[in-house]
Symmetry: C2
Subunit: 527 residues, 2 copies
């Protein structure tokens, strides 16, 4: 039986001496289906890296509009193939076709590709800075080699290594992409690769500007992030894998952006608990079970203070969790890791206070669960209590009082998000002012009165945060144009003859739309 | 004999149980002089880190104008003590009082502190981004803990851990500073610490916002960059030390900015060699011997193509090097490392073509030297040939032709700067277009027709570059406000109630001067 082809240097071709094969598995039946996908050898990916390095040199000679054209054509082709994409993604991940895949994730993906296209055309992302007196001019430019993107398991389109946020950002910034598809949705990745390949041809991008392999072994990954010709890597996934890749890349002096884990603390202040315990409980339940809880920003830890409001909140939340049907998780490993994480939390002293309806089935079913621990018990082993349970599980921590709540917040590791619920009026203001400075230090995005699962693709978004949520607190993975800066190098031109400057640094604004910082003033004017 | 006091939590106090002591050494006589300075134990620095963490929380509550006041008062106090500072810095480093210390480095230092003050006041550095429709607002904020700054040996003022570029940037961004003075100029650092301490009191900064120890052992440094309460570190120095610190910080998930080594390639194209060989040779000689060659941007590698112009250039440069008196280096270790680096280069096949006048003396004297190798020999061991010789040494590589020159450039490691000299007219344009894309990938700053030692403190400057020149190609250590971003975290406020937003994110522009990116437009207007 022939294997599915990898996309290398513009061609779909059979994998050379794959080190293994695998098939997609239906999360509903637990059964494999479809074709055999190759696990590429290091040598095969090395060929792609070399081709990507040549493509980087070619890309330097092309105007950014070509990248923008590619991104827009690609978005259009994804829409053209929407029905097929949604069908295969549903079969591979178990995520609902509607609204999730068709109405939410696919439009988010194409919108993001088009925003990246606009950023590439408009060019403000380059942060051009011109000092006319000293004749020194600087801007962010492509890194000069392929960017290796590792896609996660939870978003087959919007974070796919071949169509998601990292892909769009790194390509818009002018870098060739070498995508490692996630093994849980190889067929989806294959369809996306076909669309990308067509868009490469139609836009005139170098053939090796977009390449994809389905899978490679962990050791190959460690070698690849440190590869002399790889410019940078982006990884979204588990903490153990992220830390290993980060260590390998760091040692080689290669930038790597890792998004690894996050419990996304939600603090509910006493006034809010008293005012609207049921509404907040419903918000938690919905946010926690959305997409079977498989979001990096799922509210995994809820911190509140004992009292009648807290009791009502806990009862409301528990009853919602008890009534819900089991969730289908995207893969067997996700199920196993989640079950193990919950066992670990229980082993450390957490109590199970509610669990969804049991249901036996052949697929990757998991009954959503609500866990509980006292503030005192949390504080006795705060790190163990922050074990991420990736899936439809949330963990309530009830503090004796606000001081204990603050101690719990002070013991948090870095997360992507942190929410604070407070009463509509100003009764919680004092408590807010005591908690906010502590929580803010631990998170990349602070929310008020809202659960964190919505991650708007806004220029003001930060989908990042302090370690170990990510590897560096200054970068965001969502939000264009800021996300492009992860894949760019600052370059300065000091006394360079005018005609040799890149167009963005010449006196004339290259498109009349780009914002440039000229002698301390942000302007779109020519110089 | 009592030891000199360390500056911890606002007080000059005797070091607690120092693990050793040392004295300054005159580079001119090689003899120690002045007081005994303590080598602090890890425990002592740990106390300072804890005090710094408390100061970080206090700083959050203070408006940025306090930091600006501090920086300006500090600059004024440095000027008031200029005569004493120049005197002790001269005695400790052997660098000339005039023009270097008094007329160049000290004014550069105070100007930099004042620019950082203006950046803190003006606040555009925060890169405030507001999406009014989604009500998502983000900005860069202080990291939330002390920044550990390791000063280098070569600039007792302008890169001093207690007054230099990293200090000014990290403090202006709102972080407490824990400075590790360089052991080669402890008395200078002591005087700067006195001025800083007075400025802390007068401005109203928290007492532990600026702390200093003179020295600690390497192991303590490795623990400190990974300390849970240290927010980030900045190091300028040798590659081996930088790599060890980087590894320790990376493992702990702590940002570290390392500036490690750079040969700063200078490419001289055939037309320029033909047109003005003597002038370029003089430029090289002056740039290479300025400050006894102890600049991170010293032109260490000169690449040219064989021919009559090259012969004249080499002869001119050689005759200048032969006539020069020995340089006084800042320390014995600098002398020993430089001598060893030159031996290594000679061992790898470089030839010594010129050497300054010999002179015996008790101090750290080194005769400037010009080395040579053919392009072919360079290409046989390109990494060995890029051994940094920190001091007044340059290394000429003569290629057979332009193809070989391009091969040499392709084999370069990352550097801070790269220069290309070409003929005044357009005779060298074709060659330039062939060489520039290769060189640009290897450097942070590209110069035309100029040596790289001038590093203007301009908003458009990039004093950074690809690994191993630094640890990340997206950051600069010189150039305000960009250098502040190294010491800041991106924070997002999503649906946060208006009165709880930081002033920079509220509808009203807090000072009417700050630039903010509001719905895609850079503006100073209120919202």
């Amino acid at each position: 039986m022939p294997f599915e082809s990898v996309l290398i240097e513009g061609c779909f071709r059979p994998s050379l001496a794959p080190v293994g094969t695998y098939r997609a598995v239906s999360p509903v039946t637990g059964e494999p289906f479809g074709g055999e996908f190759p696990v590429s050898s290091f040598d095969e990916v090395d060929l792609a890296v070399r081709a990507g390095a040549r493509a980087a040199a070619q890309l330097r000679e092309l105007p950014p509009d070509i990248r923008a054209d590619f991104l827009e054509i690609f978005a259009g082709l994804i829409e053209r193939s929407a029905a097929d994409l949604v069908d295969i993604a549903h079969r591979e991940t178990g995520l609902p076709k509607e609204p999730r895949l068709l109405k939410v994730e696919l439009p988010r993906t194409t919108a993001q590709l088009r925003m990246a296209a606009e950023a590439a055309r408009e060019r403000t992302w380059c942060r051009t800075t011109i000092d006319t007196k000293a004749n020194i001019r600087s801007m962010f430019e492509p890194l000069g080699g392929p960017v290796l993107v590792f896609g996660p398991n939870n978003f087959p389109f919007a974070f796919n290594a071949l169509s998601g946020g990292d892909f769009a950002a790194a390509l818009a910034a002018g870098n060739p992409i070498l995508a490692k598809a996630h093994p849980l949705h190889p067929g989806t990745s294959r369809l996306l690769a076909e669309a990308a390949s067509e868009a490469v041809s139609r836009s005139g991008l170098p053939a090796a500007a977009v390449q994809m392999v389905y899978h490679f072994e962990d050791d190959a990954g460690l070698r690849l992030v440190a590869h002399p010709l790889v410019a940078a890597s982006a990884f979204t996934g588990s903490r153990p894998a992220g830390l290993r890749l980060k260590e390998a890349a760091d040692r080689a002096g290669k930038p790597i952006y890792v998004e690894m884990s996050s419990v996304n603390p939600v603090v509910i202040l006493p006034g809010a608990l008293e005012e609207r315990p049921e509404a907040i409980a419903r918000g938690l339940f919905e946010s926690c079970t959305l997409g079977a809880g498989q979001f990096c920003t799922k509210p995994g830890l809820v911190i509140l203070v004992k009292g009648p409001g807290a009791d009502t909140f806990v009862e409301s939340a528990a009853s919602l969790f008890r009534e819900v049907n089991p969730s289908v998780l995207v893969g067997r490993k996700v199920l196993e890791t989640l079950a193990r994480s919950v066992e670990e939390l229980l082993g450390h002293g957490a109590e199970l206070i509610a669990k969804g309806k049991p249901q036996d089935g052949p697929g990757f079913l998991f009954a959503p669960a609500l866990l509980y621990v006292s503030g005192g018990a949390f504080l006795r082993s705060p790190l163990n209590m922050q074990t991420e349970a990736f899936g439809p599980v949330s963990f309530l921590v009830t503090a004796e009082n606000l001081d204990e709540l603050r101690a719990v917040v002070s013991g948090l590791e870095g997360s992507l998000t942190g929410s604070i619920y407070s009463r509509s009026g100003d009764e919680d203001e004092t408590a807010y002012r005591e908690v906010e400075p502590l929580l803010k230090q631990k998170v990349g995005r602070l929310l008020n009165d809202r659960m964190p699962t919505g991650v708007a693709v806004s220029p003001a978004m930060n989908h990042g945060g302090p370690y170990p949520a990510t590897g560096h607190p200054g970068f965001t993975a969502v939000g264009i144009p800021a996300s492009l800066l992860r894949f760019a190098a600052l370059r300065c031109y000091d006394g360079v003859r005018p005609h040799r400057l890149p167009p963005e640094l010449q006196n004339r604004n290259p498109n009349g739309r780009m914002w440039r910082l000229i002698d301390g003033e942000w302007t779109r004017r020519d110089l």
